[in-house]
Symmetry: none
Subunit: 416 residues, 2 copies
């Protein structure tokens, strides 16, 4: 497989002053193109370390892309390092030096002479045009590997990659199976280990498409990635595996690719013509904030009562003080009265309520006891969670769990 | 110089599905601690390539930090790779295996057996506690280098780095002026360029302590960093510069180090014995969610009404329909009636209200028109913002701006 490495050059990256978004962008472009990409490196503005990184990467791969270090200052060392790595001289490109002078003249400013180092190029290299800036990119063949230097500024890197580097790489890589297609299946409600077990034999047997797991924000995502000669062929290889994954995971699957649980909920609500609101205590408005983050939600979301104090649960939501006295404020009985109160006060068809003890100090029940209720015109149901972790984790997990149970309640078939 | 390398493990990083923010965070922490940090690497979930990356990094550096690949699935290979690189066996930590079983039992769920691979550790390694998750970190000495494995999830990586890895690294690094003390002065309400101008001469003249600027989440932070033989000496070098920065920036400074605007607000409210609540339309509960994120807020925060639809503003908050008809729903008049309604309905001394057009579709006023009001027992005031950017940016900025104006209103001297 044709393998490409990416080296980002810049001490500011090592110091954490900027985030290496170029690396993820380049990685995603290489994946889209079906090229192998097995390592990324960051090195600072230091000649010896940069030369070493180029040698190592060139020994491992067919092509190396270097970003950054092409500017006019003393710490811009990429050109020099490429020349040193390849064992060639730096040669001034007189035509480009003249263009640089003219550029400064046209702006009525005197060019610092140091600026001309941008016109110095490793002997044998080919400049790549940079319509967005002054420093051109470079291609330099070095033994069996091809080196590319592109600017570190994303607005200059992206078009130079698209217009010049990617076409050369795809030509060099040649061969079939140049296209890679990924499909992300989003699940909730089961641990990563359990999802892994359910799909274990698929993971084992499958090389194309490959099956991988990602866990983030409480979701487990299953990624299917196929390589083929065309996008259509790759998609056709994914389809039966996706169908199998969905069949095995059932209602745990709530969406695919960029779907969010909030968008899935709105689609279900709109299909039924139902409005929604929330009544929140421990989550303090987090669920409402997430539901109102979705553009265009105003046709469906009506409002929320954050009833943090007990008397607000009673006075605004109509919770019966006797219920609180009997079951405690963190109880399924109170959550159910809150959710019915929200439906009444906010005049909504569907509501979610939360009451809980998020910590660090216990509130009625032990810390981590979180209760939510979900109400649709078909009925209401409450659930109690016992969660580990700190306040923010407990609150965030509860908000996510309540939204997923709302989704499940909406998906249930109508009672006959 | 004691040199530390960072290796982020995960195919999802190479595919560009997530951005390597851990690398910049770790880089900035190592820089703050005065440790050498000359290379960062990303490798995928592949045993051979991961082992090779560990060997190379260990040969170049005194310490190697690996993040990610500690989870319970088959593609979590960091433990196995560390053992292979160091030439030791994997050994099951029976105590931890038992703790894992108990953790799952306590949640009333059956643990998948595959989960136990998290308890397999390279022989001779020392576990590092992970209070935020189930996978512990690891320390493994390998020849002259020390390897650390930390989780890839930022919420688990950050505290494990701070509490366990950084103290070990600083001890191993030793040396004079080994102590570095940083002080972060947090400001809001002025651009980075303007703060830079106000402090320009300090930035120019100062080498120890150094002065640096960081912009994030709408805040401009001024970081003062001093090196000295002891913590006390470094702090003494920072004190006069901090006093000068605070004198120049005045009320723009709202806190230091880990202070949050929410905590600052609660301190001001408690000093006055005042309770707080919100009435939110376009921000949809974001301000309430932020205020309830603070542990122990229940003595001061009472509740919120998210009045997304117009009739909820009228029916629950008591906004006059005539005011809406005359000024529009996104207006200072409506924001003022909302904030007074919140004070009355929620029975609070202090309230914040928001009404606005966050987009993408205009709501009464052009997209980006956001109005908030702040109310204390001394009076109420409203402000109109016209903001660029997408819905989430507009909402987040408005929530932050409203909280800062609440802070300024609370800080105002009592009327005489």
């Amino acid at each position: 497989m044709f393998a490409v490495e990416f080296i980002a050059v810049g001490t500011e990256l090592l110091l954490g002053q900027i985030v290496n978004t170029n690396a993820s962008w380049v990685g995603s472009r290489l994946a889209d193109a079906g090229l192998g990409h097995f390592r990324q490196t960051v090195v600072g503005d230091n000649l010896d370390r940069l030369v070493a990184a180029i040698w190592e990467a060139a020994a491992r791969s067919d092509a190396v892309i270097l970003s950054g270090g092409l500017g006019p200052t003393r710490d811009d060392l990429t050109r020099e390092a490429m020349a040193a790595a390849a064992g060639v001289e730096l040669v001034r490109d007189q035509e480009y030096a003249l263009a640089l002078r003219k550029y400064w003249e046209s702006r009525g400013r005197e060019m610092p002479e140091s600026n001309l180092q941008q016109a110095d190029q490793p002997a044998g290299s080919i400049p790549l045009p940079n319509p967005k800036g002054t420093a051109p990119g470079l291609r330099l063949d070095m033994g069996d590997a091809v080196l590319f230097a592109v600017p570190g500024v994303p607005a200059e890197l992206f078009p130079m990659m698209e217009d010049h580097v990617m076409p050369i790489l795809q030509k060099l890589a040649g061969g079939d199976d140049a296209v890679m297609v990924s499909r992300l299946i989003r699940t909730w409600g089961e641990s990563e280990a359990k999802v892994g077990e359910i799909l274990d034999d698929l993971f084992e047997s499958s090389r194309n498409p490959t099956v991988a797991f990602l866990a983030s924000s409480g979701e487990i995502k299953v990624r299917l990635t196929a390589r083929a000669a065309t996008t259509e062929a790759a998609a056709a290889m994914i389809a039966p595996v996706e169908a199998e994954v969905r069949a095995r995971l059932g209602a745990r699957v709530f969406g695919a690719d960029d779907d969010t649980i909030e968008e899935v909920i709105y689609a279900l609500l709109r299909a039924r013509g139902w409005s929604v609101g929330t009544a929140e205590s421990a989550t303090g408005g987090m669920i409402a904030a997430r539901l109102t983050a979705v553009p265009g939600c105003s046709d469906t979301f009506r409002g929320s009562v954050v009833a943090y104090q007990e008397d607000i649960k009673v006075d605004i939501l109509g919770v019966d003080p006797a219920t609180i006295a009997e079951h405690g404020v963190v109880s399924e009985s109170v959550a159910l009265e809150m959710v019915e109160g929200a439906a009444r006060v906010l005049d909504v068809d569907v509501a979610v309520s939360v009451t809980g003890s998020a910590g660090p100090d216990p509130q009625d029940k032990p810390v981590g006891t979180m209760v939510f209720a979900v109400r649709t015109p078909r009925g209401a149901v409450a659930r109690t969670l016992r969660l580990p972790g700190d306040r923010e984790r407990v609150r965030t997990y509860t908000a996510t769990a309540a939204l997923h149970h709302l989704r499940l309640a909406l998906q249930e078939e109508e009672e006959s």
